[in-house]
Amino acid sequence: MGEADNCSKIFGQAALEHIDALYGYAMTLTRDQTEAEDLVQETYLRAVRAFGQLVPNSNLKSWLFVIMRNAWLNQIRHTRSGPRFVELGSDEENPAHWAEDFANNPHILYLRKLEREEIREAVESLPALHREIVVLRDIEGFSYQEIASMLGCPAGTVMSRLGRARGKLRGMLAGWQTTKAARAV
């Protein structure tokens, strides 16, 4: 196997680790399952073509997110006048993600599932800009600077937008304290 093939394989494996995160972000941007899947595929296609440009030791996940965002912006620029917002379907999550918890304690699993559903619902009902910033920071864990680079705005704007988004999220999750108390039992 040649060096290029080896690099390609390593890159492929590393990139695939982020598929769920990318799909979640694609859903945040598109709010449509089919479009999100197409966007994920387009992102990987672009990444595979461009992975030679990836600077060594740079953040692969952040690079993939930037590719996805650019692909999405490109798409809406060409096909629509602006993003379309539709209601989300009630697709079930992959049960594999619950397996580990389930093996430990079914009661905790149930409470965590309730909490996750509640939080997911609240995040998805945030306005687009706030939804995106919460997903990038609180769910995917990017730093202010990484988010600022992705969104093309100063880190100060990220900070203030995040503060407002979290305030809204807190308001929506007023019942979260109860869940937290139950979890602590």
Partner: protein
């Protein structure tokens, strides 16, 4: 940073790991001594942990996973330089060598030639511009400090101590804090022209055992920083010298940022931005009038 209000204002910076060094330790020291703030931080941490636990927000379907897996594993990925680049590199090698180059193939050719092409302009540039007086052309410590401060603020690591979009309020805030007088002009108000920038606020920054004034602006979503100290504390030097309006401006590129420093009437200024060319457009924070356009133009690269 001592009061509970300060702690609450920086709560998310702390939880998001964006507070560093002494600011972080001061924050933690306060938490150690203040139960109310500690509870607040713990509660917010629990809230953020719960949000984080909802990761992944969505899981890719097995079908999508399979499609993408096939895409990344099956595709033959060989990074090739475009033919035009290869031709240019070959031509450059011909010019560099008096003899026809010996046959070297593929990546070796590309790598060697690319290195030569990349390094050559840098070497020529350094020889022609920095030749004998490289020490003189090095950016001043004040310019470097201004660029660092700009970066730290842009990263959210250096919160403003006063937030206001009113120049006189900022000037007033500095009145009893620095040893020199800071008077921010309000050209937009006096000229009645459209406002091209936003004043965000200010804070003090340490420089040479004293304080310098830091003022943050934003223009079209891009941050601009103005750092002011007395000319006794800092003298502009280094970089490229540009004479305009009887003053000497020093232009440097530091950490990819455009830094313009100059002295005028007992004060030394540094203006930092990532705006185009030399970042001269950042001068509008003090020179927005139409009569000042000539001055801003004079700072453009020739």
């Amino acid at each position: 940073m001592n009061g509970c209000d300060d702690i609450r204002a920086r709560l998310y910076l702390y939880l998001d790991n964006e507070l560093q060094g002494s600011e972080r330790s001061t924050f933690e020291m306060h938490l150690h001594n203040c139960r109310a703030c500690r509870l607040l931080v713990e509660n917010e941490q629990l809230f953020l942990d719960a949000i984080r636990r909802s990761q992944p927000l969505r899981a890719a379907s097995p079908e999508l996973r399979a499609r993408v897996e096939q895409l990344v594993t099956d595709r033959q990925v060989i990074v090739r330089a475009p033919p035009r680049l290869k031709r240019r590199i070959r031509e450059s090698l011909w010019q560099l060598s008096s003899k026809r180059p010996r046959t070297i193939s593929g990546w070796q050719t590309v790598a060697v030639a690319a290195m030569a092409i990349l390094i050559l302009p840098v070497v020529i540039w350094r020889i022609t511009r920095y030749g004998d007086d490289s020490r003189l052309r090095r950016p001043s410590n004040f310019a470097v400090m201004a660029a660092d401060t700009h970066l730290r603020h842009a990263r959210g690591q250096l919160p403003l101590e006063v937030v206001s979009d009113t120049p006189w309020q900022i000037s007033h805030w500095f009145a009893d804090k620095v040893k020199f007088s800071v008077k921010l002009p309000n050209y937009q108000e006096s000229s009645g022209q459209e406002k091209l920038y936003e004043l965000e606020g200010a804070r003090l920054v340490g420089y040479k055992d004293d304080y310098a004034a830091y003022v943050a602006y934003e223009m079209r979503n891009r941050p601009i920083s103005l750092v002011i100290t007395s000319d006794a504390a800092a003298q502009p030097s280094g970089g490229e010298e540009i004479k305009a309006r009887g003053l000497i401006f020093h232009y440097d590129m530091i950490h990819g940022l455009k830094v313009i420093t100059w002295s005028d009437r007992g004060l030394t200024y540094a203006l930092v931005s990532d705006l185009d060319e030399r970042g001269q457009q950042s001068c509008v924070v003090c020179h927005q009038g139409t009569k000042d356009q000539d001055f801003i133009e004079s700072l453009k690269p020739r």
